[in-house]
Amino acid sequence: MDPMDIVGKSKEDASLPKATMTKIIKEMLPPDVRVARDAQDLLIECCVEFINLVSSESNEVCNREDKRTIAPEHVLKALEVLGFSGYIEDVYAAYEQHKLETMQDSLKGSGGGGGRWNNGSEMTEEEALAEQQRMFAEARARMNGGSAAPKQPDIEPDQES
């Protein structure tokens, strides 16, 4: 086999890790059951074929919708078309779970004790409170103190009716 043959030629190039697959397979079965090696190999090949099949269909779904990137929604649609609609619920749940975990990770990394709702804000609660006090003080000063600009004597806070 010369080097040129290795460049992405056969479908054997990318397969799934045997140990992980074996684990999934064994978890399905009673503990005392053995799986012949050639059966394991065949199961792994089937899984790769499954990915091929669903990928092709997802690609077509994506084409039909005139999108440029294969998104999870396309994959879910492909599963349905191919007769694997029984998987959709669990797959979607896992996807949602992943989104949740990713979001939590990015929130933790944003630093500060602001909490979830002010992910984009620069202020912490203490800072916001201080700012508010400052603005009150400014407003009070404007109301009480005199300055060059003449004020309309509309508001007489000390007047009693």
Binding site: D38, I51, Y87
Partner: protein
């Protein structure tokens, strides 16, 4: 005999069945890219969806194969059991190319799809 894992971090240590994303996403993406001649760009989240779908697929195929094993009153799951399960299940029709009548593996498979017909 167990193989030593060459990928770190991917093997979830938990013993429960609901282990998310056990399969390496990069590998899945690679397979996806090779599945056709003009595969579009793949979003970062698509392999995650695939990972779970593959798990479910393997579980179903294993379960059905196992039922064949039980029929034969054996405790070892053989390749023939997998072949029988494939033959008996409609949605696994795409796998018939991987087995022949003798239950042996055949080269080739669904492989690359041709041009999409619109």
């Amino acid at each position: 005999m167990r193989q030593a894992g060459t990928y770190s971090g991917m093997l979830a240590v938990m013993s429960g069945k609901n282990v998310p994303h056990s399969l390496p996403l990069a590998r899945i993406k690679k397979i996806m890219k090779k599945s056709g001649n003009d595969v579009k760009m793949i979003s970062g989240e698509a392999p995650i969806v695939f990972s779970k779908a593959c798990e479910l697929f393997i579980e179903e195929l294993t379960r059905r194969s196992w039922m064949m094993t039980l029929k034969g009153k054996r405790r070892t799951l053989h390749k023939d059991d997998v072949a029988s399960a494939i033959a008996a299940t409609d949605i696994f029709d795409f796998l018939v190319n991987l087995i022949d009548d003798n239950g042996r593996e055949v080269e080739g498979g669904f492989g690359r799809r041709g041009e999409p017909t619109s």
